[in-house]
């Protein structure tokens, strides 16, 4: 702790001085007498800090006088913040009014994975434990305080304590705005999600903004390697499955802007022995109907340019579960089929039975390969708080990986992800479509459905790693292989997973 220089104090003693007065000399708003003793408390905050101390006293009197093992301690000189954090830790359901605080303490963003420990305890009330480990941070990281505040608010929502949630969410806005970088953005989205949930101002239905959402995805594609990785790895699996086929048919369950296919077309063109006839069926929602045709047309142009016979068909659906075998006009026996889904399947989990419908349909067309890319996270748990916690961690990592010099692509990517967050946090029932599940969960579902895993192979893994190094400068991205599937992550956290399947035909 630095000694405060220039501290003025009268060393002369006045005998019989008048009755007690609190010394209100202020240095930068802080009570000067306390500053010298190592505590920074604004004179204007003194009463509030006193109040909080009283509250803590009452909490401790209830016999809850030990800290949980993963209590994080903040800078003790910031008495107000330290007391705040203890209040949240020891009694997160206490009904407190939190005044506006503008913080002068230096703040910096925290990488998502470090923001708080994984597997954080689920609170059922006070818990005491006999182990002695403890996490201590001697820093002024209000970023971690912010995370705690977010979780406290989510917990209030979980417990339907909307009065408390209301207080906390207002406080959140302020806390978040005093942050910087990735943490600020993530916190702002999550706080907005909470606010929407509390006040029941649900985000507009995504379908109405579908074309906008396509645009956002393009920016996301441009700005970071996740989609490129997804496309690349899926294409590798498809290419291998199509190795000797003369006619190939790719069914894309979510065509969007068709960003995945130029590379495949080019790869097919370069196939030894010449390209196969390439047929693409692109599926989209009703409001993008027109632009699907355009996408198909553009891909056709490209195919022509590289000498690949190209056929295109579009299917417009409200939901993938409406997809029927007949719509696909399969030419049985004469074409190899690939079904491709990038971030589409999880949406079907919002409606009971939908996922089974699509899997049935897929089985019925007997594809040679099914490629699936999904977010590597469980954001579909039954308990809101668990979903909230998981996704906070997930998107913190994701946003963290996006950090860099500002650009249009980056801003739009953040919006793209932000909309996912809002849906995840604020919506329920059929409106909540961002129901991400982990690779393990998808594996289970596919295996139970009679599908068999197809290994994506070490060539794809090596290529992916190389490409990543080229594009992203190998900064924090990591490619991982997991029982034939490939994952791309940031730092230690896997974020998306590609898997490939085929259906066990019953002979």
């Amino acid at each position: 702790m630095k000694r405060e220089h220039g501290h003025r104090e009268t060393s002369s003693v006045k005998a019989g001085s008048s009755s007690m007065t609190a010394n209100k000399e202020e240095a930068g708003g802080f009570d000067e007498l306390l500053v010298v003793l190592g505590y920074k408390v604004r004179s204007s905050d003194m009463a509030d800090v006193a109040h909080k101390l009283e509250q803590l006293e009452m909490v401790l009197d209830d016999g809850n006088s030990h800290l949980s093992d993963d209590t994080v301690h903040y800078n003790p000189s910031d008495l107000s913040g330290w007391v705040d954090s203890l209040l949240f830790d020891l009694n997160p359901t206490c009904d407190q009014v939190i005044p506006d605080q503008d913080s002068e303490y230096e703040l910096s963003a925290i990488p998502g994975s470090a923001a708080y420990p994984r597997g954080k305890r689920t609170r059922t009330g006070s818990n005491s434990s006999t182990t002695r480990s403890m996490v201590v941070l001697d820093s002024q990281e209000t970023g971690v305080r912010l995370v705690h505040a977010l979780l406290a608010c989510a917990e209030a929502v979980q417990q339907n304590n909307l009065k408390l949630a209301d207080v906390l969410v207002k406080h959140l806005g302020l806390l978040a705005s005093s942050q910087a970088g990735a943490m600020r953005k993530v916190a702002t989205y999550f706080a907005e999600g909470l606010a929407r949930r509390i006040y029941r101002i649900y985000p507009r239905d995504d379908v109405g903004l579908s074309s906008f959402s396509d645009t956002l995805q393009v920016h996301f594609y441009e700005c970071c390697p996740y989609l490129k990785f997804a496309h690349f790895t899926a294409n590798q699996a498809i290419l291998e499955a199509f190795a000797t086929a003369e006619k190939v048919h790719v069914i894309d369950l979510g065509l969007n802007q068709g960003l995945q296919w130029p590379a495949l077309i080019q790869a097919l063109a370069l196939r030894p022995g010449g390209p196969p006839d390439f047929r693409l069926t692109g599926i989209g929602s009703s409001l993008t109907g027109q632009s699907i045709q355009e996408v198909g047309w553009k891909l056709g142009q490209l195919a022509n340019a590289v000498g690949v016979n190209f056929e295109f068909k579009s299917i417009v659906l409200n939901s993938l579960s409406d997809l029927k075998q007949e719509m696909l006009e399969i030419r049985t026996g004469s074409e190899s089929i690939a079904v491709n889904s990038v971030f589409e399947l999880h949406r079907l989990l919002a409606h009971p039975g939908s996922i089974d419908n699509i899997l049935l349909t897929i089985k019925s067309i007997k594809p040679d390969i099914i490629t699936v890319v999904e977010q590597e996270a469980n954001h579909n748990g039954a308990v809101f708080l668990d979903r909230f916690t998981e996704s906070l961690h997930y998107y913190s990592s994701l946003f963290d990986s996006l950090e860099g010099p500002p650009s249009q692509d980056r801003v739009m990517s953040e919006l793209y992800l932000g909309r996912q967050i809002l849906n995840l946090v604020a919506c329920e029932g059929e409106d909540r479509v961002e129901r991400h599940e982990t690779l393990a969960q998808w594996r289970n579902r596919f295996t139970m459905g009679g599908f068999k895993s197809v290994s994506i192979g070490s060539y794809a893994y090596k290529q992916a790693s190389m490409l990543l190094a080229l594009y992203a400068g190998a900064d924090g991205y990591k490619v991982e292989e997991n029982e034939g599937c490939l994952l791309l992550g940031w730092q230690t956290r896997p974020l998306i997973a590609t898997s490939a399947w085929r259906f066990n035909r019953v002979e």
Partner: protein
């Protein structure tokens, strides 16, 4: 119980300035978190939470300080001196010359409080207090660290205190006066006061001259529950329960609070009669639940024929001297100053003037 607490807290808040209340409540709160029911102590967290300051060889507000670290014990001693009159000597520490060849410069050997468990010489609260002692009372202060409980029990703190006294007595650069000797007063607050008493006892036994003892709401106790303990339990930052915890942590295992370290004039206490025990200034805070034991201590000294001044500050709570924003602080400083500069008029009077403040 919540209702009762609210009353207590409100009353307490009226008595002390708000920032004092915040400061002491914060300590109380932190200490509650550190003490474990099984008697162990969260030392790492304690060290983390303790606000510490470095020494400064360049004078600030007329005081400079430097540290001496005993490498065999890892105990810190911090020495506070008035700034040299000549600014060209700022930043330099002369360890070869006495403080003065003509004047007597009292050296206060100060044992910080913390109920034998908390704080250090470099804790901000004690560093600041010692610096104020230098400027206000015109003394040199040697602030001493001692091994703390529960890791180190009785008699470690006393042994360390005794060693510190001998060290101070043997420093050339702490000598003063025409006879060039070290004029030592022992002082301490809370557990430090208890240590000061015990070090003085040993000094007396071994013929080391101590000019006076200053005990600032010293930490004493006993098995019996006194009136003041019952009356003030939980009302002004301190509870009987926490006092018990600290005694259990300091006294040898299996001992009770009538052990002489805790209860020096109790059933197992020792007599000081006929022994050249130094004169004492005992400061009692009128809102300290331990006061009956402190008053019993004063009585005990008196009965043994020892010279003792009692400064009873009726409306003071523990820790009143950490902030100079109240009358008690200034009153204390006045009395202290008189006490340490009264060697010239060394009175053998056995009377015990009692000073009270409204």
């Amino acid at each position: 119980m919540a209702g009762g607490n609210e009353v207590n807290l409100n009353e307490c808040k009226r008595i002390v300035p708000l920032n004092t209340w915040v400061l002491i409540s914060n300590f109380k709160l932190a200490y509650t978190l550190l003490r474990r029911p099984d008697g162990s102590f969260n030392r790492h967290l304690a060290e983390f939470l303790d606000r510490k300051v470095p020494s400064n060889s360049f004078p600030l507000d007329g005081v400079f300080s430097f540290d001496h670290l005993d490498t065999s014990t890892n105990l810190l001693t911090r020495i506070y001196l008035p700034a040299p009159l000549d600014p060209s000597r700022y930043g330099a520490v002369d360890l070869t010359e006495p403080l003065s060849a003509t004047e007597i410069v009292p050296v206060l050997v100060f044992f910080h409080g913390g109920s034998f468990t908390h704080s250090s010489a470099d804790s901000a609260i004690y560093d600041t207090f010692c610096r104020r002692l230098v400027t206000i009372c015109g003394v040199v202060v040697v602030s001493v660290d001692y091994r703390r409980s529960p890791e180190h029990r009785y008699p470690c703190a006393y042994d360390d205190g005794w060693n510190a006294l001998r060290w101070v007595k043997s420093r050339i650069w702490l000598r003063s006066g025409e006879d060039s000797s070290v004029y030592v007063y022992l002082a301490g607050d809370s557990s430090g006061g208890n240590i000061a008493h015990n070090v003085a006892v040993r000094a007396t036994r071994e013929g080391v001259k101590v000019l006076g003892n200053i005990l600032l709401h010293p930490m004493f106790g006993g098995v019996e529950r006194t009136q003041s303990e019952k009356r003030l339990d939980g009302k002004y930052f301190v509870t009987i329960q926490d006092r018990d915890w600290y005694w259990r942590a300091y006294l040898p295992e299996g001992e009770d609070r009538d052990h002489p370290a805790c209860n020096p004039f109790g059933p197992r206490g020792q007599s000081l009669e006929g022994v050249d025990f130094p004169k004492s200034l005992v400061v009692v805070a009128g809102l300290d639940l331990v006061q009956d034991w402190q008053l019993a201590y004063v009585d005990g000294l008196r009965k043994n024929g020892r010279d003792v001044n009692l400064l009873y500050l009726k409306q003071a709570t523990i820790g009143f001297y950490f902030l100079p924003n109240n009358d008690h602080f200034h009153c204390l400083m006045d009395e202290l100053k008189k006490f340490v500069h009264s060697i010239e008029e060394d009175s053998q009077s056995k009377s015990c003037p009692i000073l009270l403040t409204p």
